[in-house]
Symmetry: C2
Subunit: 119 residues, 2 copies
């Protein structure tokens, strides 16, 4: 998943839950075992595992198992793809706002020179 | 909504749908009336209005009505708050990766000077 293009619908859906965002925040500080990750949450382990599975399916986190211990870590590239999508929409909007400001300035300058000619 | 802190669960949920992301992309190019927005979508107007309502409720877009015409526009500040949350998690992760690289470099330098002393 880490090298594929993330499915943005799945990534945004995964982040639309406070428990899953909290897991992402914790994993930002480094890899964690599932039991250490689950400890602070007042939640049955199967429910917690479902949240991990949503995050892993869309590539926001990855996990590996050594013996009986499963360790999770963040896949920053996936978050970065979702970030880039949002940044692109804002950039479009800002470019348009800049063009409008430039156009307003042009009208203003034309008004000034027209005023000078008429004096 | 534009001046409040966005509810990230609602914002990410709103963006977890390809139709709603397409609406956001179109509005990045400038405000649009509901009928112009709806035209390219092969969807009944009530379903389309539901998508707009999800986007408006969480502050990703705003709308105003003049006479019978409703116009929508993007609220870039809301997207920016969601972007900042993701950027923060990545920054945490990257800072940790940098600290690990620095630590590995320190061990390496210690190995080198130990090697020199032993020669």
């Amino acid at each position: 998943m880490a090298n594929q293009r993330a499915d943005l619908s799945e990534v945004f859906y995964a982040l639309a839950d406070p428990t899953r965002r909290k897991i992402v925040s914790v994993l930002g500080r480094g890899p964690e075992t599932v039991s250490a990750l689950a400890a602070p949450f007042d939640m049955a382990l199967p429910s917690f595992m479902k949240h991990l599975s949503v995050l892993e399916r869309c590539g926001v986190i990855s996990s590996r198992k050594e013996g009986r211990v499963r360790t999770c870590e963040l896949v920053p590239k996936t978050l970065s793809q979702a970030e880039q999508w949002m940044a692109k929409q804002r950039a479009l909007w800002e470019a348009r706002t800049d063009r409008m400001a430039a156009f307003a300035e042009q009208l203003h300058q034309e008004d000034i020179s027209r005023g000078k000619r008429q004096r």
